[in-house]
Each structure stands twice: as C-alpha cells, then as structure tokens.
Subunit: 167 residues, 2 copies
Amino acid sequence: MEYQEAKEKFISTWGSLGSLWGINKAMAQIQALLFISTKPLSMEDIMEQLKISRGNTSMNLRQLMDWGIVTKELIPGERREYFTTEKDVQELARIIAKERSRREIKPVIKVLKDVSSIKNDKSAETKELIKQTKALHDLTENADKIINKLVNQEQNWMTKTIMKLFK
Amino acid sequence: MEYQEAKEKFISTWGSLGSLWGINKAMAQIQALLFISTKPLSMEDIMEQLKISRGNTSMNLRQLMDWGIVTKELIPGERREYFTTEKDVQELARIIAKERSRREIKPVIKVLKDVSSIKNDKSAETKELIKQTKALHDLTENADKIINKLVNQEQNWMTKTIMKLFK
DNA sequence: ATAAACTTTCACTAATTATTGAAAGTTTAA
DNA sequence: TTAAACTTTCAATAATTAGTGAAAGTTTAT
C-alpha cells in the first residue's frame, strides 16, 4: 500500500467511524486529515483534499473547535487562517470522553433519575418501572463517574492503572 | 410525574439515546418498552404502544434478537409470539459492549493496523501517517482489550473491581 | 475610507436512513 | 388439505440529516 492509498483509507475509515463517537462524517474526516498532516492546513487545503464545499468546511471546523479538538493557528504574515488538531491520542480521548459525557450521558442520567423517582403506587407496573430505571440510572452514573475520573487524571494515568489491572 | 408520563419519557429518552450505542430509534424504543414491561409483549402490543407499523416492528425485533438482547417467549396454548428483553442491566451492558466491539471496533483496528504498516519511505508525510495511526491503533486496541476482558468476566466482577479503584 | 482577501451564514438541494403497508410466506388447528 | 392467524419481506415513500454555494459579514492593508 502506498502513502496516498493509506492516507485515503485512513481518512475514509475514520470518517465513517464518526458515528461511534457522535460526530458526522465530514467533521471526522477533517479531524483525520489534520491528525496526519505535518503542518497546519487552511480551509482551502481542506476543501481541496476532501472535496467538500467551503460552507461545509467552515461549519465543521467550527464544531471541531467547539469540541476543543481543533485550534486556529495564526501564521505570522499570513492573512489566511490555519488549523491544527490535538496530536496526542491520549489527550484526544480525554477530550472526546469528556464532551460525550457532558452532551449525552449527563442529560440521560437526569431523566433516569426523574423517572425512577415517581411516586410508588405499589402497582406491579410502577414497581417494575422504578426498579428497572433505577438499575439503569446506577449503571449509567457509575460509568459516567469512571469516565470523568479518567478524564481528570494526568495524561498516562489511565493507561498505567488499567494496564496493571488487565495485563 | 405519573406512571404513564414517566413511562413515555423513559421510552422516548432511551429511543433517542439509541445512537449512543449504535442502534436506531425504533429498535431502542422497543427494547425500552420490553425492559419495563412486567410481562412478555406480542407484536400487536408493541405496535400499538409505540404507534409503529407491523413491518417496522418485525424488522426491529429481528435485529434485537440478532444482537441477543431480545428473545422469543412461547406461551403455551397461544398462537401468537411474545417477546422479552434481558432484564439485568449488567448482562445488557455486556452484550452491547461485546457486539459493538465485534461490529465496529475490530474492523477499525484492522484498518489502522494495515495503514500503519505501509512501507516507510522516510518522507515526513509517511513518517507522520505511520506514527499517528500507530498511536491510534494502540489506543483503540487497548480499549477494545479492556472491553472484552470485562465482557468475559462473571456478572459483577466489573462493578466490584472498578468500584474499588474509583471509590 | 475602501477594496481585496478571506470567513460565515443559511435557504435550498441532495443523500441517507427509517417507516409504511400490502403481498408473500409460514404455521397450526381442525 | 385448507383456511385462518399470524410473521416476514421489500418496493415505495417519508423523515431526517448533511452538503452546497452564493450573498452577507469581517478583517486587514493601503
């Protein structure tokens, strides 16, 4: 496999994987492109390499910046804006985990808490609803706590700790 | 909040959360409905409660069965088929984690491995591609190993072990 | 101040994904 | 064996989500 083919394969795979971490294809592809680039890229560069429109590029870059994964790089003397992504995979994982927790898991935990707190009228249906949503609430909250714990540790804590456990 | 409202809120939240664990809305809603039901439900019951068509119900039930989350329950003397879902949240989490690993993570690991194994021609671009995809490969593979380790333990091992770590 | 160089916004269109419902298929009881 | 009771399939349609491109907005150099 040659460089160009490998590059395209990586970008396209990473793009279709976007759904796994909750972002769209173009967003994931832009991130992938920046991730393997040796230097910051302009909007023009990104548009050209991924064959997507200016508007699409602009909106997805903004979203990536909202996530905190991509940052503007101002090159002295250059009018045009350049972009880079976080290059450290551990840090990237931390950011993604944290954002997903905030955007998706936390709101669900709230609903589960509300639902499992309804008045218990002793009917079998109500009892079951409370029991099951409570179990789900506890599981989800534990998972979220773990994520946030990981996320607030220094860089390699996760790897070190978990490797000890799972070696 | 009354029973009916709580039930609807739970089903709709769980449904929109489907994307988080990689399934569609109707599929997640059917699972949610079965999860809080005190007894097995027929296709008719599900269609009526969720207001979805027969075809949709049939296809999504099949998918849930493929995942191993829902099973057919044959009630003696009844012609009609009834369905139940796994009621234990730990077991449910195990099944989901295992399936996602198999369907999504494993194939990505393979691509990352292939891409990071291209011939190193010493150009800066090739070196960067190899370095970054290798880092991603290692991270993803570790995460996947952890998941599978968890998944192959008995019921409460995960909770116990991790709670010790994160208390 | 102004015009060139650039970025953002957003109404429209395209692509993708989910849903329907009717026809075909299957099973069971008599 | 057949017909009623049920489930599955799948082409058509609807709903949702993503992408385009041109107009509006912003910044910078002169």
